[in-house]
Symmetry: C2
Subunit: 481 residues, 2 copies
């Protein structure tokens, strides 16, 4: 592996079309679907075939930063020699063009090789069951990028779908001399309208754009300068160093909210395409999840606590409660702790509409699950009412909640399982199941698990204002002070 | 109103076809659907048009006894002069023939009138939106019963349905002289097979049996003696008095598990029929509930926290969490705290199969809700785990949990809302929101609400055995010691 090969994994999406399983703060790329790894982790593992792991950069945003780091740490322990991973954090969510521009600039700063960087950009929500085949295609793409092409990966459309960009490409001797299957792109249309899509698919001459790109840093920067100068200028002038892998909020906020496809790909004359000669799935909707799932003899994909009578070709997914279904056909049913979805499978794209509706209504079910993951474990809201809120808190072995205080609420903790260390007003309390403690407003406290078994704590919050933001962190091992 | 007119409301069913809203311990007749009253309460109120309220007897079983009494008490305060209501309690669940026989015998004991009792028997799960019209039909039925007829109420079938008994009846001068619209029943078939049902409905000559009957006590007893002697004999020899409105478990257990329709109606030569000339609904399935519900312009009946896109002719019912539906057609979706049903509307009868499956599997979701109603209020199980269980307990104003102790568990209470009186080891504690108390194994305790606002308590149970049956009641205002 050459040291000038880098990768940027784009891991900042919100996964609105896989709601209610996916939430803005727990999006699909950070979830497990098919094996022991999350989609994001799988994307990372896949890249290691072509890129040195220390050269793989994850681009995420402030909202997903701690979960991304947590998942990278889990990988690191299992796989890699490196003692650290590289994450660039967008201060707010923009589209892919700003994120990629930021990534290129950062890679230029950390590149220690004499050759200039060649970069693979990949989304984090693809499912590619044969990573070795994929690695061979990437190998060819790297050769093309070396010759100053921007390489795209084309997928033969399985149906007319307005959710993709469409590529038309043709044979070209110069390209074929570099890589046998390479084609020259002569038309790139990002998400065309329904009529065009139908026409493209009928002609049989078009490919979907998979969203994976390979290019030389200087080539892409030149294209950005040409076609998206407002992005180029900000990135060019930003003070990005190998130590500061981000950019000030106010600078980043000036960036247009645009994808790399709209900003560059639709205009660039340097595009080459390699056909994606391996199984590939964009897990962009529940229908796509259904497609890759194992099915029973009635064509149903069933997961969790489900009783079904006579359903066919449906996806029934329960995360907690009993779901019973009778006589469904081509449906998607998804149950989570706080929201249920029942949807015609062919309408799966419209889940995004529900997500946006909830967001507009400021309904938190678009944003978080009742169970919220934290670096130290997770908590679940059990019940809330006038002036109170109760949670069940799990602290993993070694986990420590920050030393904190609240201005507006008191807390009462009861240990349910395991043994806890509670720091309360500088005093240490070792607590066992059944023990309880009162923590008043403004009193400093921390809940810690110094042992090997997880602990469960019941928390009763009381106060006029009960808000996750009412936390003053005084000390935190996860750097959240 | 003559003092010899009595009624028996059959309120012991389990309502399996309205699962998951209806549970064995919280069946449909005890639930509210259309107005401020439960179906059972509405049945009671309806009868008051024809029967003195003290002559209305509710037949239920041990499982539903306390809820039935609670609902009668609620009515009593609002409506009636009586200081007590009458409930007969089957020691175990049998079908309607034993329950009616027990009721007749009890009525004979309490009848203080010289005329012998005439009895109206009615299920408790009907919806009759025009009770005045119904009362006029009952008035006619009473006249027929006086002349020794057993009167049934026939409903014109709206579709072939194997869930009903079918009646064929014809004009008869003798009957017409008593009541103008009365017909003589010449054929009664309880739940015939599909083919017969189709034939009956096509002929246009048949009626559904509504399940409401009116008869003279002596007439029905004579028919029972003739056609169901095994029931008659047990009831005849049982020691039933006005003070003891039940029958020993072992006696009742000998009764055959048979409905009055199969035991008597299919054989009796004394049947008259009055057409049910008013709107009538047997709320026997989700489809029936849909039929009587208010619908929006798309034909959807929507209740609770629901977001829908483009569904049609569907019932979407949420009791707690967010339910989102996209593109449904003729579906039933029902959400409860612990179970979720998605069903083709035309398959609504098969919900009973799911209920029975759950019962076989001993899954408690057939039996109780996560929220369980008690005479003093209700509780909801929040979370359970290894050696612990947490509940949120609401005690209504004036409510008192029994003075009790547990052999296998300790409890920890935290007041969330309202002010509570806790009796603990003979000591009184007045507790406010935020206060907590530990109750050890074998320690006597009672939770009481002496104030006008409901209270909410969080309970943490801990122990090797956490079972609702581990309650030793020492004192109880609801007679459960």
């Amino acid at each position: 592996m050459s040291n000038n090969i880098f990768a940027i994994i784009l891991a900042g999406g919100s996964g609105s079309r896989l709601w209610p399983l996916s939430r803005e703060l727990h999006p699909k790329q950070l979830m497990q679907f098919t094996d022991d790894y999350t989609l994001f982790q799988s994307a990372f593992i896949r890249l290691v075939n072509n890129v040195d792991d220390k050269n793989i950069i994850t681009a995420t945003n402030a909202k997903h930063d701690s979960q991304v780091r947590y998942q990278l740490e889990a990988l690191q322990k299992k796989f890699f020699r490196q003692s650290s991973y590289r994450v660039i954090t967008e201060p707010l969510v923009k589209n892919t063009a700003p994120a990629v521009a930021l990534g290129i600039k950062y890679i230029e700063k950390i590149n220690k090789c004499e050759d200039e960087p060649i970069i693979i950009v990949t989304p984090s929500d693809h499912f590619i069951p044969e990573p070795e085949k994929f690695a061979k295609i990437v190998e060819q793409a790297l050769k093309l990028a070396q010759e100053n092409y921007i390489v795209t990966f084309g997928v033969k459309p399985s149906k007319p779908d307005t959710g993709y960009g469409y590529i038309r490409a043709k044979k070209n001797k110069k390209l074929r001399d570099i890589s046998e299957k390479a084609l020259k792109v002569d038309f790139f249309s990002e998400k065309p309208d329904e009529e065009s899509v139908r026409e493209y698919c009928e002609s049989g001459k078009y490919y979907w754009n998979s969203g994976i790109f390979v290019f030389k840093a200087s080539v892409m920067l030149a294209e950005l300068k040409k076609y998206a100068p407002e992005i180029y200028d900000i990135i060019h002038n930003a003070e990005i160093t190998s130590q500061i892998p981000t950019i000030p909020y106010l600078e980043y906020d000036k960036m247009p909210d645009i994808s790399l496809d709209y900003a560059v790909m639709e205009y660039s004359k340097k595009l080459a395409m390699l056909p994606m000669d391996c199984e590939w799935h964009d897990l962009g909707s529940w229908e796509a999840i259904y497609d890759i799932s194992e099915k029973d003899e009635n064509g149903n994909s069933v997961q969790g606590n489900v009783i079904d009578l006579d359903s066919k070709d449906s996806m029934i997914y329960s995360t907690s409660k009993l779901v019973t279904t009778i006589g469904l056909k081509d449906m998607v049913v998804v149950e989570t702790e706080d929201a249920f979805l029942v949807c015609e499978k062919s309408r799966a794209q419209d889940v995004k509409k529900v997500f946006n509706l909830l967001k507009e209504k400021n309904d938190s079910t678009h944003l978080v699950h009742k169970t919220v993951y934290r670096p130290w474990g997770y908590y679940t809201v059990l019940t809330e009412g006038d002036g109170f809120l109760t949670k069940c808190i799990q602290v993993n072995p070694g986990g420590k909640l920050s030393l904190q205080l609240h201005h507006h609420r008191s807390e009462h903790w009861v240990v349910l399982e395991g043994n806890a260390l509670v720091i309360h007003n500088d005093e240490e309390h070792y607590m066992s199941p059944g023990d309880s403690i009162d923590i008043g407003i403004e009193e400093t406290h921390s809940l810690q698990n110094p042992y090997d078994e997880p602990i469960k704590i019941l928390e009763v919050q009381r106060g006029e204002i009960l808000d996750e933001n009412d936390i003053v962190r005084l000390k935190d091992i996860y750097g959240r002070v």
